[in-house]
Symmetry: C2
Amino acid sequence: MARKYIDNPNACSLVHTMNIIGNKWKPIILYLLSNGSMRFGMLNALIPTISKKVLTNQLKELENDGLLLRQSFAEIPPRVEYSLTEKAIGLLPVLRQLSDWANDAYPEMEFEQCRIIENIKKPAYNNVYKK
Amino acid sequence: MARKYIDNPNACSLVHTMNIIGNKWKPIILYLLSNGSMRFGMLNALIPTISKKVLTNQLKELENDGLLLRQSFAEIPPRVEYSLTEKAIGLLPVLRQLSDWANDAYPEMEFEQCRIIENIKKPAYNNVYKK
DNA sequence: AATAGTGGTAACCAAAAAGTAACTAATGGC
DNA sequence: GCCATTAGTTACTTTTTGGTTACCACTATT
């Protein structure tokens, strides 16, 4: 009975937070979207090891929890843009601190500014979006 | 091939943090230990929905990642005390912010100060530690 | 006429996580 | 002698997660 969400009968806010973003992909997705809205395919390209199915699922959950806005355009081929809501924007500084913490606590790991984050800053959508 | 940890080829510190504490139990465990060291059975009692097997496993991982100190006393019956390392103590303010964020972002949930956290403050080990 | 392009979905399968129950060691208490 | 106690461990089973592949709609391009 592997349960995804912790029971939260006492309405603990930390438990709630971890239920919402406490998995491996979601903070990454939020971080990627911190520079602006992005299409599904772009997210998929920037997180090479995620499968479409899982990405779809994560995006849906984030949308349901009010962290993402999904805008679907009636074009062919389809275009869907994801962007952060105010809730999610409020979370970004905390994500930054989580990142800073690892830098301090594990200096031997010699972290770089996350490539995944850098990528998004270049307009090189076509360079990145392959296959 | 469900993999627990995200690949982190580019040594991104946020990815690393989420690999270390980005699951449902670990922040809870760390928070519980923020008031001082605690025995295995106490942790097990304060997190009623976790199984012994999983708790053991989570504690081991936290120890391996340098967040917990495990002290085993050569007594019968056995006694093992878990406490936070400096690394983990540095993480506590961030956990607090994660908690605060949920309070702000989801006011409709009417969170209380987490019961799980309150419990630990009473010396009522024997009241809590049942079955 | 075939293909590429996008954002998915459905079906199927493998792997991992997590639950349960039983078991352990060594001692103190009844 | 028997039971309770603690911090696990082991074996077994179920549930969940995640990967893969194929497929769709519709248009523009080759």
